[in-house]
Symmetry: C2
Subunit: 222 residues, 2 copies
């Protein structure tokens, strides 16, 4: 009896689902920076208990997206100039290590994924859709980090990425000169493919510092 495979039913813990929803709303801006969140309201709306929502909020706090003032309330973080600087310098350090590890010792399969992520970026740049470009840009960086085979680096990168996404969306800072974007990423790809570990690391760090610089000067903040 041959038939199409049934779709896998998603069975996720309630707190993880709540986390995903909240994070999505914060990143896409439908819950703006500076908003207050209350456990009761969220749990009512989602039909979950406060304990569950609370777990999700604590996780979001770990990710740096919300902050808790004891006995008072949760607020969605507002990123200052200093925060953006911190995020990009930190991402620079993380990606420096990731790129140099990947260049030094990634398996061919992982290398192929990095190459593929770059190809996707090229295609996105041709289409000139800013959102798509931004996604592909994130995708390339993530591919390099994933290829490093360093689980803590991946976890760390995830946290930073969430926060950067919040900022990028909230500031609409999608500076998408597609030509320049490709020119900035190509050398990194080449250094990695040619197994030049030192260069790959340096280029990655420089790229991040430049990006961070650009964002902090171009977009004034509270």
């Amino acid at each position: 009896m041959d038939r199409a495979k049934l779709p896998k039913i998603e069975k996720m813990p309630a707190d993880v689902r709540a986390l995903g929803v909240l994070r999505g709303r914060i990143i896409d801006g439908s819950i703006p920076a500076g908003s207050r969140l209350t456990e009761v309201q969220i749990s009512d709306e989602m039909g979950l208990s406060r304990a569950t929502v609370r777990t999700a909020l604590h996780q979001l706090a770990q990710e740096g997206l919300v902050s808790l003032v004891p006995y008072t309330g949760w607020t969605v973080v507002k990123l200052s100039r200093q925060d953006i600087w911190e995020l990009y310098t930190l991402r620079g350090a993380v990606e420096r290590l990731a790129a140099s590890l990947t260049a030094a010792s990634a398996e061919p399969a992982q290398m192929a994924e990095v190459q593929q992520a770059f190809d996707a970026l090229e295609i996105a740049c041709e289409r000139k859709n800013p959102n798509e470009i931004a996604e592909a840009d994130f995708g390339f960086h993530k591919a390099v980090v994933d290829a490093s085979g360093h689980s803590r680096l991946r976890a760390q990168y995830g946290l930073i990425e969430h926060q950067i996404r919040v900022y990028i969306r909230s500031s609409d800072a999608l500076i998408a000169d597609s030509k320049e974007i490709l020119d900035q990423h190509r050398p990194i790809l080449e250094a990695i493919l040619s197994r030049n570990s030192t260069l790959a690391g340096e280029l990655s760090e420089d790229h991040n510092l430049r990006e961070g610089q650009k964002l902090t000067v171009s977009v004034p903040l509270a």
Copy 2:
């Protein structure tokens, strides 16, 4: 009516206290790696509710000291060779950034703290007490990170440090050749004091990679 100031009464949330106690026990080895932890037992012993203990355990999981298998239980993590490698490469990347930032732009007061931490390390080395040396060693690294004025770097460093401490204690890997320890740290201090940002970063990273190497080869792991 002049009198000695009364000592400040510590008023901490219960979950924070539980977290501190558990972390301390894991780090000092009285709860060994691989142990199972159950929420009920802990909450009974501490006289707290499960919810409170659970919050603390989740935090410990974030710090990488325990891990949760759904509907099954919590266990204290056992660090593998790969984990040690990850910790030291990651710490290398974090400290590279910290040292170069500190060298580039720390205030005199912060510089003085770094100097002071090094002096403490010198004194500890003279006394040849392994535990004291290890503490002063951690202290120096922490001082450099603190001086960088980068809050996310500090937070990140804290997490890594906890995990390294677990490993160092559990393996008794306190390789304390006091002469060598000073020789390894002095150039870092000097590069920072002379505001040589690039060199400070490089030396810090190298130092960590060497340490990590030493620990992974000298101590066989499960």
